[in-house]
C-alpha cells in the first residue's frame, strides 16, 4: 500500500515537477494570454456548462455545478462564498504564509468587517438607531455603503493592531491560543451586547445599491451572479496589491523574519514592526471579506463567526500551500466547494473533511500547490530530523 503510494507520488512528481519551470520558460505574451483566458474563465464560471444567451449546454461541465445534484445549493451562491473565502485565505496567507505567525482567531477580523457594515449601514441596527435619535434623523437614515467600506477597513485594521500590539512578542504556540481567544471574545461580546444586536443579529444590511429590497436592479436578492462578479473583482484587485507587497521591501522583511527572526533583527529588520504590518494587512483583508459577506446576506448573527470557521480558514491556507497565493486560493476554493458539491454524503461531510485534512497533511505536508521556497524549507528540515527516528 505504502509502496504503491510512494510509486504514485514519484510519477506525479515526474509529471508535475517541471510544470512551474516550463511555465516560467514561456514567452511573455503567451503567459499573458493564458492569464487573460484564466481570468475570463473565472468571470464565466457562474454559467459553467451553459453558453450565455443561448439555451445550448455543454455536456460534462454541468457535472461540476453544485446545483446539478438533488438538494444542491445555488451555483452562483456557492461561487460567491468561494470568492469570499479566497479573499480570506489571501489575507490569512499574509499572516501565516508570509510572516509565519499562527493566527487561530482570524474569524474575529471577518466578524469586525461584517459588523462594521451591519452596525453603521443598516437602518435597523442599534448603533444607527442611536445616531438617528441623537441627531433627529429619519428612521430609514443610515450611512451609505460606500462609506462603510473605509469604516470597515479602518475598524479591522485597528483590531489587527490592537490584537497584535500586546501579543506579537509571544512565540508561535502562545500566539495561537491568544488569537483563538480573541476570535471568541469578539463573538461573545457581539452576542451579549445590546449595541451589537445580541444573539438576534442585525438585519437590513445594505449592498452597493442600498438596503436589501426586491427592487434592486443589479445587486438584488434573487440573482447572485453580480455579487460573485463583485467579489471576484475585489479578489483580483487584492491579488495584484498583495503581489506587489510580497516583492517589496516589506515582503522581503517578512521572509527574513519567517526564516530566522534573530538573524533578521541583527541585519536591521525590526521584526515587531513588520509582524504588526502583516497582522494589520491580513486583518484588513479579512474585514473586507466580512463586509462583502454581510452585504450579500443582508443579515448577520454572531453564531456565524465561531471557532470552527477560524479553523477552516487556517486549514484552507495550509492545505492549499501556505506562502503561495495561487495555492491558498485553490485551497480555499476546494474547501468551500467540495462539501457543497458532494452533498450526497450529507451526514458524512465533516468526517470526510477531517479525513482529507489528515491525508493531505501526511502525504503532502507542503500543501497542494506550495511555494518553491516553502518546499525547500521543508526539505531542509527533513534533513535536520533527529538522529534515530529516521
Amino acid at each position: 500500500m505504502t509502496e504503491a503510494l510512494r510509486h504514485f507520488n514519484e510519477r506525479r512528481r515526474h509529471v508535475l515537477g517541471g510544470m512551474g519551470d516550463r511555465w516560467r520558460a514561456l514567452p511573455r505574451w503567451q503567459r499573458w494570454l493564458t492569464l487573460l483566458a484564466g481570468v475570463a474563465f473565472l468571470y464565466y464560471l457562474p454559467f459553467l456548462g451553459d453558453i450565455p444567451g443561448t439555451n445550448l449546454i455543454i455536456p460534462g461541465l454541468d457535472w461540476f455545478r453544485t446545483d446539478s445534484i438533488d438538494g444542491g445549493a445555488n451555483w452562483a451562491g456557492v461561487l460567491f462564498v468561494c470568492a469570499l473565502y479566497v479573499l480570506v485565505a489571501i489575507g490569512l496567507n499574509v499572516v501565516i504564509g508570509l510572516a509565519g505567525l499562527l493566527d487561530l482567531g482570524y474569524v474575529g477580523f471577518y466578524a469586525v468587517g461584517a459588523y462594521s457594515v451591519a452596525l453603521f449601514g443598516s437602518a435597523e441596527s442599534p448603533v444607527v438607531g442611536a445616531l438617528q435619535e441623537q441627531f433627529g434623523l429619519s428612521s430609514d437614515w443610515a450611512i451609505a455603503w460606500a462609506i462603510c467600506i473605509p469604516i470597515a477597513l479602518a475598524f479591522s485594521l485597528v483590531a489587527g493592531v490592537l490584537l497584535g500590539w500586546p501579543t506579537l512578542r509571544l512565540r508561535g504556540d502562545y500566539l495561537a491560543i491568544v488569537t483563538l481567544g480573541f476570535g471568541e471574545i469578539i463573538r461573545i461580546v457581539a452576542k451579549n451586547s445590546g449595541w451589537a444586536g445580541e444573539a438576534q443579529g442585525v438585519p437590513g444590511i445594505p449592498g452597493p445599491e442600498g438596503p436589501p429590497s426586491p427592487d434592486n436592479k443589479v445587486f438584488g436578492l434573487l440573482d447572485i451572479k453580480p455579487w460573485y462578479w463583485l467579489a471576484l473583482s475585489v479578489v483580483l484587485l487584492m491579488v495584484l496589491l498583495v503581489r506587489r507587497l510580497e516583492h517589496s521591501r516589506v515582503g522581503r522583511s517578512w521572509l527574513a523574519i519567517r526564516e530566522d527572526e534573530d538573524a533578521a533583527a541583527v541585519m536591521g529588520v525590526y521584526p515587531f514592526k513588520f509582524k504588526l504590518w502583516a497582522f494589520a494587512i491580513g486583518a484588513a483583508l479579512g474585514g473586507f471579506s466580512g463586509l462583502l459577506f454581510a452585504s450579500r446576506s443582508a443579515f448577520i448573527q454572531p453564531e456565524t463567526f465561531n471557532v470552527q470557521l477560524s479553523i477552516l480558514f487556517v486549514a484552507m491556507v495550509v492545505v492549499g500551500g501556505s506562502g503561495n497565493m495561487a495555492g491558498v486560493a485553490v485551497g480555499a476554493f476546494l474547501l468551500a466547494y467540495l462539501p457543497e458539491r458532494f452533498r450526497d454524503f450529507s451526514e458524512y461531510r465533516v468526517l470526510a473533511f477531517g479525513l482529507a485534512l489528515v491525508l493531505i497533511m501526511l502525504l503532502r505536508p507542503q500543501g497542494l500547490l506550495p511555494s518553491r521556497r516553502r518546499t525547500r524549507e521543508l526539505q531542509d528540515r527533513a534533513k535536520e530530523a533527529p538522529v534515530n527516528v529516521a
Binding site: 452562483a76 451579549n192 438584488g220 450529507s346
Partner: protein, 382 residues
C-alpha cells in the same frame, strides 16, 4: 518543449470548440407535470451537523406526511426535496436562491431555526414563495411585515405569557428566577416571560451554549431563594443544569419551554428531570386528531420528538394546497393564507402576519413523570 506546450494548448482549444458545437439543446422542463395535481416543495434546515438533533424530527414528520399523501393518492404525487443548511445562515442563503430560482418549486417548509429563517425570508418574499415554518418561534419574524412567512407554531410571546400564567396560578410562585442560554430562541422567550411575569420576576442569569458547569448560576439561585426557576433554551444545557440543581439540593419547580419538549431531555437528565414542567404550543398526542403519533412510531421506531407534529402539519398545509390544484406560487400562497383546518398539533388558521391565529394557539403544560413527557393541563391564557 515549448512547441509541445503550444500544441497541447491548441488541442485543448479544439476539443472545447467541438464540445460546444456538439452542445445539445437544454432539456425541456418536464416536472411541471401534465395534471393539475401534485408538485414539488422544498424543506430546509439543519439535517446534519451539531444542531440536527432538534430538527430531524420535524423533517421526519414532513416526510411522513408526504409518504402518506402519495400512498393515498398515487395519481397526485408530491415531491419533497430536502436542502440541508446545518442551521447556518451562510449555507441557507444559496439554498434559498436555488429553491426560488427553480420554477418547479412552489412552496417551502422552513426554516427550522429563527436565524436561517430571518436570513432567507427576504429572498423567498422577492420570489413570492410561501414559507411554512414548523419550529421558528422568534417574535420578530412576523413583526417585519413579511408577506410569505407563516408558521404552524405559536410564537415566543404567546408561550412566554402562558408560562407566566402557569407559574403564577398553578405553581403559586411569588418569585421566579429566569435563566436563558443566550441563543435567539432562549433569550427571546425568556424576555417574553420576564415581561409577562412583571413583579414576579426575581433574579436572572444568562448561560451559554455548550456550558456544562453551572456552579455560579446555582449560587445565584441560592442567594435569590426563588419559588420557581424558568429556563429558556434547549436540552443540551438544560440536562446538566437540572442535574446540578437537584444535586445541590434545590427542589423548587423548574419550568422549561418547548425547547425541552424533547424525549432526550428526560433521558439526559435522568431522575433529576422528574417533576420538571415543560410548556409547549402543541397538543398532547392522544388529544391530537388522527393517528399521527402511532404512525410516526411505526415509521421511525420512536416517538415524535420536538416539533415532529409541527413538521407533519407544515407539510400537510402545502400538500393539501397542491392537491387542490394550486399550481403557481401565488395560488399556493393564497391557499396558505386562507387555510383553516384541523391539524395534528393544533387547529390551524393563519393571522395576517403569518402567525397562527391567536384564538387557535393552544399551550399545554407537560410534566416529566417516570422519564416520559406526560400531559398535565392546558394553560388558559385569560
Amino acid at each position: 518543449m515549448r512547441r509541445k506546450y503550444v500544441r497541447a494548448l491548441g488541442a485543448v482549444g479544439l476539443s472545447a470548440a467541438l464540445i460546444a458545437a456538439a452542445g445539445c439543446q437544454a432539456e425541456e422542463d418536464d416536472t411541471a407535470g401534465s395534471s393539475d395535481c401534485g408538485g414539488k416543495i422544498a424543506i430546509f434546515g439543519a439535517f446534519s451537523g451539531p444542531n440536527s438533533g432538534l430538527v430531524i424530527p420535524s423533517r421526519d414528520g414532513a416526510l411522513l406526511a408526504v409518504k402518506q399523501h402519495n400512498e393515498a393518492n398515487p395519481d397526485c404525487e408530491v415531491t419533497l426535496q430536502e436542502f440541508d443548511t446545518q442551521g447556518d445562515p451562510t449555507q441557507a442563503t444559496p439554498v434559498a436562491n436555488q429553491v426560488t430560482g427553480d420554477e418547479s418549486f412552489l412552496g417551502v417548509i422552513g426554516g427550522a431555526f429563527s436565524g436561517e429563517s430571518k436570513a432567507t425570508m427576504a429572498v423567498y418574499e422577492a420570489a413570492g414563495m410561501v414559507m411554512v415554518s414548523p419550529s421558528a418561534t422568534a417574535i420578530e419574524l412576523t413583526a417585519g411585515g413579511n408577506e410569505v412567512f407563516h408558521r404552524v407554531v405559536g410564537n415566543d410571546a404567546v408561550q412566554g405569557a402562558a408560562a407566566a400564567v402557569y407559574l403564577r396560578d398553578v405553581a403559586q410562585a411569588k418569585k421566579v428566577f429566569v435563566i436563558n442560554d443566550g441563543t435567539t430562541y432562549g433569550a427571546g422567550i425568556a424576555d417574553e416571560l420576564t415581561k409577562a411575569l412583571g413583579a414576579l420576576a426575581g433574579g436572572t442569569d444568562q448561560v451559554q451554549e455548550k456550558q456544562v458547569n453551572f456552579a455560579a448560576t446555582i449560587s445565584k439561585i441560592k442567594a435569590a431563594e426563588p419559588d420557581a426557576i424558568a429556563y429558556g433554551g434547549y436540552t443540551n444545557e438544560a440536562a446538566p443544569l437540572v442535574k446540578q440543581l437537584r444535586e445541590a439540593g434545590i427542589t423548587t419547580t423548574f419550568l422549561g419551554f418547548d425547547g425541552l419538549y424533547d424525549p432526550s431531555f428526560p433521558k439526559g437528565a435522568g431522575a433529576s428531570a422528574e417533576g420538571v414542567i415543560v410548556t409547549c404550543p402543541c397538543l398532547p398526542p392522544d388529544k391530537a386528531g388522527g393517528t399521527f403519533a402511532a404512525d410516526f412510531e411505526a415509521e421511525y421506531g420512536g416517538p415524535p420528538g420536538s416539533y415532529g407534529a409541527e413538521g407533519f402539519d407544515a407539510a400537510n398545509v402545502l400538500i393539501e394546497g397542491l392537491a387542490e390544484g394550486n399550481t403557481t406560487r401565488a395560488d399556493l400562497l393564497a391557499w396558505v393564507d386562507s387555510y383553516d383546518k384541523e391539524g395534528v398539533s393544533k387547529s390551524l388558521k393563519f393571522a395576517d402576519n403569518g402567525d397562527v391565529d391567536e384564538s387557535r394557539v393552544v399551550i399545554w403544560a407537560y410534566e416529566i413523570k417516570g422519564g416520559e413527557i406526560a400531559a398535565q393541563q392546558e394553560i388558559k391564557l385569560s
